[in-house]
């Protein structure tokens, strides 16, 4: 079948959802095609804007943004002002959906605590992740749930003590009894968060934390304070127990990422975005530098999706937005070739935390996020790229993944919405 709409967005990660919601809010008819649920749902739900620059920790990401190279996505879309606007917009979307994001830290980035006992710079986090209150106290309990996978207070405390700013704090291990009996699988923070969303789960958590709340002014928890009503549950626990609770950033499934995705998905539906799942875009019809249709694969052939403009937020190598073969890399839908070192050995770096081509390969775009050919000219006039499919930055080394996804997705949606 062939269907027509104003704007087609491909991908339902943070970039695609931000683009689709922004375009729909400006009055456009938007179809969102997605193959898989994107990575937001398994992520931390925190927005890392810029954590490191050339390997050095950044205090204020917006101050440092001015020093980024011209081809960095932030520089292309107008720098700090554009990125700040996107952050404020996401905060308002989250607030409407029931999640309050914390105020920015005084120095710029928050220093979030992870369930690995590491500290991680991030600009925007839910209230419940804000670690500021730890600065004013000397004692805190590190809490886990019996048999919970990947959250081990002993390890967390050992790790935290290696940081100068935390080395003199007194941390205590606390293990809550598991509220889920006869589980047939490893219990994760997501299982407990879902349980806490129920009235009996909430009662269990309040009761189990009570003895520790009497001894410690701050409790560090895995992200288990509910799902849809996490904000209310966290508020209620803090005030009932007269304690500050900090949720720690967890590994996938990250819980807070799913909370945020559910909020965005609901907002998309309310804004009238037509979201088609199981829709893998395999090719596009292009005529004289303009995309006419993108095509999804179905069991009985192909469906064509026509639009005035397209926003491609298909992710990187792992999500399928970028394809590779030894010595070459290309964007998957339009087969735009990417600058790649001919020697594949040079794609990776011996320093696993350093910058690498694998993490930075991507589509070259202009300041409107339209793709450029080898000569530097726009090659698809009604197509914009957003999120990890973009080149010019290293999300892993910089800690800027969700920040770039949000800011470029929002910006692409704004530009397409104005046309």
């Amino acid at each position: 079948m062939n269907r027509k709409t104003d704007i087609v967005v491909v991908g339902s990660g943070l970039a695609g959802m931000s683009a689709a919601l922004t375009a729909a809010q400006s009055g456009k008819k938007v179809t969102l095609l997605t193959h898989g649920a994107g990575t937001l749902a398994i992520s931390s739900g925190c927005i890392d804007v810029l954590g490191y620059l050339n390997g050095v920790r950044v205090a204020d990401p917006f101050e440092s943004m001015a020093t980024l190279p011209a081809e960095h996505p932030y520089s292309l879309i107008g720098g700090a002002e554009t990125v700040r606007e996107a952050i404020d917009w996401l905060k308002s979307v989250c607030r409407k959906g029931g999640i309050d994001m914390a105020h920015a830290a005084e120095e710029g980035n928050h220093t979030l605590i992870t369930v690995m006992g590491t500290l991680k710079p991030s600009y925007l986090c839910p209230d419940s992740f804000n670690p500021d209150c730890l600065k004013d106290v000397h004692r805190a309990a590190v809490v886990t749930v019996e048999n919970m996978k990947d959250v081990h207070p002993g390890l967390i405390i050992d790790q935290l003590h290696r940081y100068a700013e935390l080395s003199d704090k007194e941390f205590m291990e606390a293990v809550l009894p598991c509220p889920i009996e006869h589980a047939h699988r490893n219990i994760t923070p997501l299982d407990i968060a879902r349980h806490v969303e129920t009235p009996e789960g909430m009662k269990w958590l309040e009761k189990s934390l009570m003895p520790y709340a009497k001894l410690y002014p701050v409790l560090l928890l895995p992200p288990i304070c509910g799902m849809k009503h996490s904000q209310q549950i966290w508020n209620q626990l803090c005030s009932a127990l007269k304690v500050k609770i900090i949720e720690m950033v967890s590994i996938p499934p990250g819980v807070a990422g799913l909370r945020m995705r559910d909020v965005l998905k609901k907002a998309l539906n309310a804004a009238g975005v037509y979201m088609v799942e199981s829709a893998e875009v395999v090719r596009a019809e292009v005529e004289e530098g303009r995309c006419k249709t993108v095509h999804t694969l179905t069991a009985s052939g192909e469906d064509a999706w026509e639009a005035d403009s397209f926003i491609i937020a298909t992710g990187g190598l792992l999500s399928g937005g970028i394809s590779t073969a030894p010595g070459k890399a290309w964007e998957s839908i339009f087969q735009l070739s990417l600058d790649a070192p001919a020697d594949t050995e040079a794609w990776s770096s011996p320093d696993i935390f350093g910058s690498s081509f694998f993490a930075s390969m991507g589509v070259k775009v202009n300041h409107e996020l339209k793709p450029l050919n080898g000569e530097g000219n726009v090659c698809l006039d009604n197509v914009r790229f957003a999120g990890r499919v973009l080149g010019g930055y290293d999300f892993a080394a910089e800690k800027s993944g969700n920040g770039v996804a949000l800011a470029t997705g929002r910006y692409a949606g704004m530009l397409a919405g104005k046309e």
């Binding site: 079948m1 179809t31 898989g36 589980a183 996938p252 609901k266 037509y274 979201m275 799942e277 829709a279």
Partner: protein, 403 residues
């Protein structure tokens, strides 16, 4: 020959774990990633089967959410078929799998007797003892089933174009009027409808309950008939998302040898076909009733898995006076016969609670969905009226039907 799906596309990202409706409400289920691709590696070593295999509802939300294109649910269903070759499924599962045969038997008796026979407290207790939950509302047999109804119906003469209808067993036994609504609409659009009685159950309930050989027999019969019509260039339409999914992607996955001789084993979607009729001007909706009607639409998981959007919702939105919203609240929890099973009933209801709450909170009475068992579950969970989008379309177009 044992058929295997290579599990190595799975990168263990846990997206399916987060999106699985069963894992969300019960920790008795190992979860899609572990039961699917992870356990598959052990199955290759003949290392035994996991106890929670029967907890997979085959709702397909793992496949829908997987960014890597792993057929998680098909891995699980192939494993179940393999397990059931050695371990006979229960009598209860036989009953739930063979609804078509039961429908055929009861068609010789008056439906009020049959339904009384099924729905009275004593029968419910007996069904409960074999493992069909007495709390569940089983669908009721229609007083006249589709084959009889179709035979009696006089289609207008002089219709030059032809289509074939594949009703599937739910419409055949429980919702024949929905099938007749489609026939009425197709006639109005200028199509004569053929219904070959040789078409039988698509095999979904058989395969998911462990009756692989029965499912295969049906597939052979259905594909043979489908091929004949395809050769004649006449489209074969289906109204049921689960039947469509079986033909489109499960038959090629479960019985690749049957599918390999056909270019495509897919049926055509009746909703897409009707939408095409409207767009081509064959079906005129300008005379439709314009009285205001709010509708809340539920997209069946097996439709979402097909990646074609929501043609049924598109049709509703074309109708003047109709305001249709998408509930977008995930799985209803029934998954064919899953939610009728005694040990799964509460799981199904817990899964569906999000959808039930969304419907109740919307304040909208009229619910629409394409899937027959989703409809049963929605009515059971909310008490609201729930109809197929095409039934609503007919009501708005047919001056003779009572509203």
């Amino acid at each position: 020959m044992k058929r295997r799906i290579n599990p190595d596309k799975c990168v263990a990202c846990s997206t399916c774990v987060v999106q699985c409706p069963v894992a969300e409400v019960t920790s008795k289920f190992l979860g899609p990633r572990m039961l699917g691709p992870a356990s598959e590696r052990f199955r290759m070593l003949n290392a035994g089967e996991d106890d929670s295999l029967s907890y997979c509802a085959n709702c397909k939300n793992c496949d829908i959410s997987c960014p890597q294109g792993v057929e998680v649910s098909n891995i699980n269903m192939l494993a179940r078929a393999e397990y059931c070759r050695e371990n006979r499924p229960s009598f209860r599962d036989w009953i739930l799998a063979h609804g078509e045969l039961e429908a055929k038997l009861v068609s010789y008796f008056p439906s009020f007797l049959v339904n009384f026979g099924m729905a009275n407290p004593i029968s419910k207790q007996i069904l409960d003892m074999v493992g069909v939950s007495k709390k569940a509302d089983l669908p009721k047999f229609a007083s006249k089933q589709f084959p009889a109804m179709f035979k009696e119906y006089k289609q207008p003469e002089n219709l030059t174009k032809r289509v074939v209808f594949y009703p599937g067993c739910f419409i055949k036994a429980y919702a024949p009027q929905t099938g007749m609504d489609l026939v009425w609409l197709l006639n109005k659009a200028g199509y004569k409808v053929e219904y070959p009685e040789v078409f039988c159950c698509c095999g979904t309930p058989l395969y998911t309950n462990g009756f692989e050989a029965d499912a295969r027999k049906n597939a052979v019969k259905n594909l043979e008939e489908l091929a004949a019509w395809r050769k004649a260039g006449i489209p074969v339409l289906s109204l049921c998302p689960s039947c469509q999914l079986m033909f489109k992607s499960e038959i090629p996955a479960f019985f690749p040898d049957l599918a390999e001789n056909m270019e495509s084993t897919a049926l055509d979607d009746a909703m897409e076909f009707i939408l095409g009729c409207i767009n081509r001007g064959e079906l005129d909706i300008s005379e439709a009733d314009t009285s205001p009607l709010d509708i809340i639409y539920h997209a069946p998981c097996h439709l979402r898995a097909q990646g074609i959007g929501f043609p049924g919702l598109d049709i509703l939105r074309l109708l003047p006076g109709v305001h249709a919203v998408n509930a977008d609240a995930g799985c209803c929890g029934i998954s064919g016969s899953y939610g009728f099973k005694k040990e799964k009933y509460d799981i199904g209801m817990a899964i569906g609670s999000k959808l039930f709450d969304t419907i109740k909170d919307s304040g909208i009475r009229q619910v629409a969905t394409e899937c027959g068992t989703c409809k049963v579950q929605i009515i059971h969970g909310t008490g609201n009226p729930c109809d197929h989008p095409l039934t609503i379309l007919r009501r708005r177009l047919d001056k003779k039907t009572t509203k």
